[in-house]
Symmetry: C2
Subunit: 420 residues, 2 copies
């Protein structure tokens, strides 16, 4: 019989079995709360006090979703909202493949699996290539939820640090190569970068894929922000580079309609690879969860038919917002910041000492004219203990006038924080 311990006291040899406590798994305990969402209760408390909170913490765009996408959902006329195929609806996969061919990537619908957000694409990719104890190389600061999925699957993230002073671009290849161990299974990056705003050059992406080729690793590229590049920067698709280097078997593309179409609540992502064995394994994971949501796949399909009309003005809008945020940051003495080349985030180092405490204080103690601002503490985007302690992530997804107010609040708050 299983040995049990009392939940409140050890009753010794007279221990009553049924008092033994249930416990969480180690991974359940280790699972990190989202640095983007974990301060939400403080924000709710501030709002309950009547304070207006400007959300710079979360990448939830206020830009209108293409109305055609919502119309496609409304046009759904089947009497039954039934399961779709585990790999996604054929027409949705075809729309995604066609979109990728349009940017020069040679793929067919057969290489595409529709997932429940880019999130599930990451989870499935990690599960299909890593066993517990295996390692994936990431570049910190990185998209925080990589940690969550790695924790769930027992995968270790080995972080290569990139620096705000370098615009969060890659360090010399030798520094990355030094992190590779026999347990390493993949290199994972996002470009345009969340939270960094860095757009890796074709040379950088090529260097990463070459490393993957040399060491038998997968190259996993999260390109959810592909279109959002500014000032002539261009996103490089991992599938394109891998084809060029003759190692398409190791390229995994993670993508999502969430940001491209301002449709985060649709939960439609996709995974693309030309490695058929891998695709088959991932489809088996997909079969276990049956299928992605049906209605939103119709929305996604239509989204790609209006992309040429929808996306260019959206890029312009985000660039204007970026500029507004940069103007605000320029008013903070001692802040260090690279101009974001893409995505809609910036991760500045702020002169606040402990940015986590500062982010909380913004919600609990600061307000000006009944307003405050919410940012995501930067340390949650690092695997290295203590790194990013002075950084915050700012998402510029609000209207320009709101961003203006939010940045003014941030400037004022840092002043007050340092005068406490």
């Amino acid at each position: 019989m299983r040995r049990c311990f009392g939940s409140w006291q050890n009753l010794g040899p007279t221990v009553v079995d049924w008092r033994c406590a249930v416990k969480l798994s180690d991974r359940g305990n280790a699972m990190p709360a989202s640095p983007i969402r974990r301060l939400t209760p403080l924000a709710d408390a501030a709002k309950a006090k009547g304070i207006k909170v400007f959300h710079l913490n979360i990448g939830q765009p206020d830009i209108t979703t293409p109305p055609e996408m919502l119309e496609a959902v409304k046009a759904f006329s089947d009497p039954v909202l039934s399961y779709g195929p585990s790999a996604g609806l054929n027409e949705t996969r075809e729309a995604m493949a066609k979109y990728l061919r349009g940017i020069g990537v040679d793929v067919s619908a057969n290489h595409v699996l529709v997932t429940q957000g880019g999130s599930e694409a990451i989870l499935f990719a990690m599960a299909a290539i890593c066993d517990p104890g295996d390692e994936i190389i990431v570049f910190e600061p990185f998209y925080t939820n990589y940690s969550g999925f790695a924790c769930m699957l027992g995968v270790h993230l080995r972080a290569v640090q990139t620096k705000v002073e370098d615009g969060y671009h890659l360090p010399p290849v030798a520094q990355i190569e030094a992190k590779i161990t026999p347990k390493t299974k993949a290199i994972l990056w996002s470009s345009p970068g969340n939270p960094t705003g860095a757009v890796f050059t074709r040379q950088e992406v090529t260097a990463l894929v070459e490393l993957a080729k040399k060491h038998g690793l997968y190259a996993i590229s999260d390109e959810a922000y592909r279109e959002f590049c500014y000032d002539g920067h261009v996103a490089t698709c991992v599938l394109d580079v891998a084809a060029e280097l003759g190692c398409s078997d190791r390229a995994i593309l993670i993508d999502s309609i969430s940001k491209r179409f301002s449709a985060c609540g649709a939960r439609i992502g996709f995974l693309v690879t030309k490695n058929e064995e891998l695709l088959a394994a991932i489809l088996r994971f997909g079969q276990a969860r049956l299928c992605p949501p049906t209605l939103e796949q119709y929305a996604a399909t239509v989204g790609y038919s209006v992309i040429d009309k929808y996306v260019p003005p959206t890029i312009d809008e985000y660039r204007r917002r970026r500029d507004r945020v940069m103007e605000g940051l320029a008013k903070i003495p001692g802040a260090t910041c690279a101009v974001p080349e893409g995505a809609f985030y910036v991760q500045p180092r702020l002169p606040v000492g402990d940015a986590d405490a500062f982010a909380q204080w913004l919600l609990t103690d600061f307000q000006k004219d009944g307003k405050t601002v919410m940012v995501a503490p930067g340390n949650g985007f690092y695997a290295t203990e203590g790194a990013g302690a002075e950084e915050v992530r700012i998402a510029y997804v609000l209207k320009e006038e709101d961003l203006q107010i939010a940045m003014d609040l941030l400037v004022e708050a840092i002043k007050q924080w340092n005068q406490r």
Copy 2:
């Protein structure tokens, strides 16, 4: 540097590093294909030849989704399809809690987490309580996708066999208790049962929760088919029994709107527990994947407002279908079958020797008047090697007249199969 081997040949000391192959993880290789879906290519091939395939393999009801639910989606008027809360929309959680209170379960919206189908609820529950190598006790035949999530997470399912001759009800408690090891973390069951159709009595559920209480295990109950009980059988909710036994901390309810509202494509499930520490851990998993799909949560909310009108006639319909299937099975000499007490599946033992080969043959070689029938091979619902080899799962989710045709086809097919 990592040691690499050529993918085609070992080139010895002159090995060219970049030829080293990428590999799947062990879990990716071990991941089972869904026995419900893996024969789909054969069905597609049969359809391509002009053969009409009656699908008894998958629990995809043809019953109309409540139109109010689809109307709720169409009424969505926000300009942005945005992220919802990670735990689900408050109104959806409240509707689910209210529904459970209506069946006598004392819970509030705070105990409810909305998930991407019941699938995600199972995945999160397993992840939060099991580390790799830990064990969960299940009763075979069991819902096949439990295997998939267990494989993904490195969890071992320890199967207690139930038998068609006993109507797939539980064996003596000592047989279950004998499977408990120091690695056991939970007992998991579905009642009304998929694929068995068994509805565990209150005594049976009480016995399972008492075992969980005695041994410090979680009691995970998958009650997606709660309403679908026939002939006076009543489903017992794990939360209710656990409250009665004073161990609410170990009860985890898995639920879903998929079957209740014939809305499988919505991908809305939920998890309910009064264990706050567990709920917090599961919410952290939920934060990593951001949120469940937004539009369908509005559908789910409205579903619960029409449940009293919608569900009773649906139960009557499924009971009639069950009877039609049982009439068909009665015409098969040598078939063994318990009358399903609930859900909309039956798992008979058929006189076909290898049911897997038979299920394939139905799609590749059999047809009558240009029609055939598809069933799910029963072995995929067992963890024990070789078990269930003569069984199939039949889902009675088609109209009565179609079920009649399908069962006649099955009777004829078995005759021909045995005369080959």
